[in-house]
Amino acid sequence: MSTAVETPRRKLAWSGANLIVLVYAFIPVLWIVSLSLKDTGTLNDGKFWPSSPTRDSYSQIFNNPDFLRALVNSIGICAIATVCALVFGTMAAYAIARLEFPGKRLIVGVSLLIAMFPQIALVTPLFKIETAIGIFDTWLGLIIPYITFALPLAIYTLSAFFREIPWELEKAAKMDGATPFQAFRRVITPLAMPGVFTTAILVFIACWNDFLFALSLTSTSRSRTVPAALSYFQGATTFEVPTGPIAAAAVVITVPIVIFVLFFQRRIVAGLTSGAVKG
């Protein structure tokens, strides 16, 4: 398997596997795209493809200033939260994977407990705290909870990867006179990249898709993110669901994620080079 020679037959086999993955990923997505292109007349016709595709839904959402503002909010809030969660998470995960210090297991345990508690029970007290200190309906008011709830996953993922890294290299760096912190930055960080970028993608997506906090901790378009903005879409009348625009918005907001993933997936390199393994 690993000693791959790229014979045409192998290429064909992998093309087949790839095709299955693409079908799995895209059939339901195409259905959402199709819904976004249907007009009100054919929305309910039960056909997979739109019979008379229309761009109405798209022009509708792009003419909605609240949606555009929400898009900006989402990108800003999620980018900041992801970077912060990664920095804090990497630091903590390194300590947990590499260092002996009192309270380590407690930290690991507590962060898991935080990830376990149903968030719905935390929303109202959080709302009270945020209104009290004046960060309700601000970017900061969303960024902080996002960092918090991303941290357990980040710490676990990163420490799981850090401990599999060949630490002889770090030792070698220390012998060359590097401080533990330098060893961490220069030697371990590059090796930890698959874990770090995996975490980055997961944290970003989790933040991007969050609905509960986005809805509960905002009140104006100043800080409302896209998933919350979606639930504010109005139909033509009270009982009509704006299926087309919602589907269109879902398609549009998936694009930044795809770009984000396209950019980062390269960093999840296939295996460590043999040179790195020899300590």
């Binding site: 676990y156 912190f181 898709n209």
Partner: protein, 312 residues
Amino acid sequence: MTTQTLPPGDAEVEPEGVRIARQRHSDGQKAERRLGLLLCAPAVFIMLAVTAYPIVYAFWLSLNRADLRTPDANEFIGLDNYVTVLSSPIWWTAFGVTMFLTVLGAAFELVLGMVLAIVMHRTIIGRGLVRTSALVPYAIVTVVAAFSWRFAWTQDLGWLAGDNAPLTGMWSSLWIILLAEVWKTVPFMALLLMAGLALVPEDLLKAASMDGASTWQRFWKITIPLMKPAILVALLFRTLDAFRVFDNIFVLTSGANNTSSVSMIGYNNLIGGLNLGIGSTISVLIFLSIAIIAFIFIKLFGAAAPGEGEKR
């Protein structure tokens, strides 16, 4: 895991060196402790600052009669709320549904996630395309994906339903909910597992291959043991989320035909009914259930758990 690199016998040969090393070691230990705490401090601080009060408050509310609309009747009632919830068939039905979705969901997701991870990791053509597109399901906003499934499975409106109305029966609904969940979260598993695969040294696989190990043997004997920490993390976090399944059920069936999950019951009591006492009790019970599952996982995986048993 990496202890074997210390040359054995060093210590016996140079007693003098041992003494110095021990001295340094103890200084180093202090510095290490300080560094460890320092590195963890920001993460711990922010997590506790945000969640400590809300979590403690939820525990406290669960011991009280606390209804937002009748504040005068609120009082400390000990474990009464727990008795009420645990003696209710509503809770146990929802618990069964949730377990069904969690166990089957996690199992399917682990197997499919591993397959997907291997394809994403190993494919020799179009790797960027495959990796990126495989993550698209996870990137779609859950509520919208759920709506599109609902549409697709509604009689005559959707291309999947045809003449049937599968969302009107308990089991057919549960399988559809499961499908929606699995479709959405297999990429989450796959991504974590793929990063685990990236840590398996090619050399080792190559060497094993030369020793005559089959693909299957290499997978079970080399890849899987090395991936254990990644598998644990993926399984653990996926299970935590699966047990709190809400969005898909809320949109697909609104809990009709006994398809409510424990989170839906929690939502109905806490947010709908404004009964903070019962709602918090359900939240705490969900929390305890998840804690038990997590504990079992960590015990099963033993030393592969973060913070457990690793040595330099």
